[in-house]
Symmetry: C2
Subunit: 417 residues, 2 copies
């Protein structure tokens, strides 16, 4: 390896594109496929860094947008960078801030040079160009930073986005009539916007690479766009993948598509990215999505599901999610999941935390409920990834979905007793 | 010892009434003087039981009122009692529920047989008699339960409570005139209410003792009342202290008095209680209050200060509280207190949590802020109590207030750097 980010593939499946490996960074290594807990504002909500580590997480993600608007990258830099600031000594990846700039602001404006948006903290106007996005991440100091990409909204606020099938049918034929013309215009507009985003994303990555000031201790990943259109995904993957980055991400997924659409895009796109570099599927997802993506050759993931759902009393199990506010759990003495080795489920000197107790905590609005289910959910995802890594190494896939039925779909809530 | 609660005094000061000892319960022992963290609704807010234990706490308190209104004592009993329910294997003490019945409801009605109030959860009418208060605590299953007492409000909602000096002056002379008559009537009313509360509290304790169904594995403490009037405190201490309880509490303190008043009442009352049984000062307090009370011969304390103030960004130090939202801490790299061995202040693989980071967490409304300062504050109070126990054993008091200047008063906020 020449740069600060290395990737060594340790094992490959013979029946699918899955591989296991180790990514090395200035703050140590992490095994792949890896699931990164999301520490939005410099903290994984409701859990101490040592507890995050105890779940098995070896790398986490911070959101540049949130740290940009508060406390600001200059302060984080002054405090020694994001590792020291949040007291996490293992690898950190930051996104570029672009996604939140698009999604959290009603009034963002994108042009060829960047995106302008209003801060959700104080309403001030913030300008993010490729150069500033990199500068901010150079100040924050993660091991891996992400290029600013143009991620067009999945659903345009003014124009309903056509489905892939409708898009193709509308583009291929002109059926005449006013509403058909409208649909056709929408579809053409959408395609034009996708093409523009694709081209901009390549130009912006080139600018990010030039702007990157800490090439010795930070690696910059590029991001593939292209929406749900496979030709555009191929165009983007080929252009982005040709640039000099230590890893590449698949972006613009998990912005509203079905699980089937996600799998279709990922199965198509992942193999187009350089085999020797880690592939990162941004913002995904449920266990089924992770399972499909790992089999397609993806190495890294992040998602707010375990933490966000945990705070909302939804606990992940191998069979699906438990909604712990449900009255049927009021007197249920069992742990969230028998056999789980997380600090919520493992018996201590006085037993485990019961579903009945957890329900009480959520009904009484007590912090300990979100804290415990966050611990459990993060451990659930780490156990899932660890089993996937073992399964890739052994290439014995047949029993995986027996251990993790949830990998076959979003199973309904399981019975409580 | 005959009952489930034993008390062995290990050392006595030769210069004050302080003593150290060990209280034994069905769930193990705790050293005295002891500070009990408050786990209102069956959880110490924002901290896992194992973390509470790691702060050095050996016993904690649950509020009967809160567990009575939700999830209800029958459910807690069905789930195996409050130890198993909240997953805390060491001793637990519950209060009687009376204090919250008086203080949380605008519409409570006290009569000779008990108190009637509306639930803060669903507005339903709840009746607490001495018998029901004991039954509820028999169901909850703590090691130590408290008798229902009549705790008259420190400040009557309709009649401003006269100061002790004014009370005495008004009672002793009749200065004539309308406003003086009003003051005198208020004072007489207040004294009548104190006397009534005192007498009721004795009768109710006798009823609680008779009603107690788990004498084999739970100890029932009586509570001394009497307001700020020392004669009435003596009357109550003599009557209550003569009854067959394994320990006694001083109640009706820390309901609005000055630190001097608290010290005056405690110094007078504690020695009136049986020497051979643990003395518990309810709801107190700041370090200065604890210091004075320990020197007066008090053995047990509970207070929400470390947890409540911690959630509000106020961190206790040996020199006073830091208000961590203060802008001056924004770029302060130091821990809350150098030398503190709590999980927030102790350097880990990547340093400690800085004041600057903690301020960021509070400004960003992140759970981790309350969690970390709760851990620190609880450890602060446990370190304070451990030092007091050592100081009693060695009887070297002169250096104690050098190590803990805060024990001499509520010191102003210390400089940040």
């Amino acid at each position: 390896m020449n740069g600060p980010i290395g990737f060594e593939i340790r094992a490959r499946s013979g029946v699918c594109n899955a591989r296991t490996g180790v990514v090395s960074t200035p703050h140590g290594t992490f095994q792949t496929p890896a699931f990164m807990p999301v520490g939005t504002k410099g903290t994984v909500k409701g859990i101490l860094p040592a507890q995050v580590e105890a779940t098995g997480a070896e790398i986490l993600l911070n959101n540049t947008y949130h740290l940009l608007v508060r406390p600001g990258p200059e302060l984080v830099s002054k405090m020694g960078g994001v590792h020291k600031f949040m007291n996490w000594h293992r690898p950190i990846l930051t996104d570029s801030g672009g996604y939140q700039a698009y999604s959290l602001s009603d009034t963002n404006k994108v042009d060829d040079d960047g995106v302008t948006f209003k801060s959700i903290v104080d309403g001030s106007t913030i300008r993010l160009t490729p150069e500033r996005a990199v500068e901010v991440q150079n100040l924050l100091g993660p091991d891996i930073l992400m290029a600013l990409d143009d991620c067009p909204p999945s659903i345009d606020p003014n124009v309903e986005r056509p489905s892939q099938a409708r898009l193709e049918s509308v583009v291929k034929r002109d059926s005449g009539g006013l509403s058909a013309r409208g649909a056709r215009r929408s579809a053409y507009d959408h395609i034009a916007r996708l093409d523009l985003a694709n081209e901009r994303t390549v130009r912006w990555l080139e600018r990010c690479i030039r702007a990157h000031q800490r090439k010795g201790d930070q690696g910059l990943f590029g991001i593939v766009q292209g929406g749900t259109d496979l030709d555009r995904r191929r165009w983007s993957a080929e252009r982005i993948g040709a640039l000099d980055c230590p890893g590449f991400a698949i972006g613009g997924v998990a912005v509203g598509e079905s699980a089937d659409d996600i799998a279709r895009i990922v199965r198509f796109t992942a193999p187009l990215l350089p085999d020797s570099k880690p592939r990162y599927l941004m913002g995904v997802g449920y266990e089924r999505d992770l399972y499909e993506a790992v089999r397609a050759g993806v190495d890294m993931f992040d998602c707010v599901l375990p933490t966000r759902n945990g705070r909302n009393a939804n606990a992940f199990t191998t069979n699906g999610q438990l909604r712990l506010r449900n009255a049927k759990y009021a007197d249920d003495p069992s742990p969230i999941e028998v056999g789980c080795d997380c600090d919520a489920c493992t018996p201590g000197p006085n037993g485990h935390f019961s579903r009945g107790y957890l329900r009480h905590l959520f009904m009484a609005d007590e912090m300990l409920g979100p804290m415990l289910v966050t611990i459990h959910n993060l451990r659930h995802f780490q156990r899932f990834m660890a089993d996937l890594r073992q399964t890739i190494a052994s290439d014995h896939w047949s029993t995986f979905t027996t251990r993790w039925p949830v990998a076959l779909g979003r199973a309904p809530e399981i019975p409580s007793k």
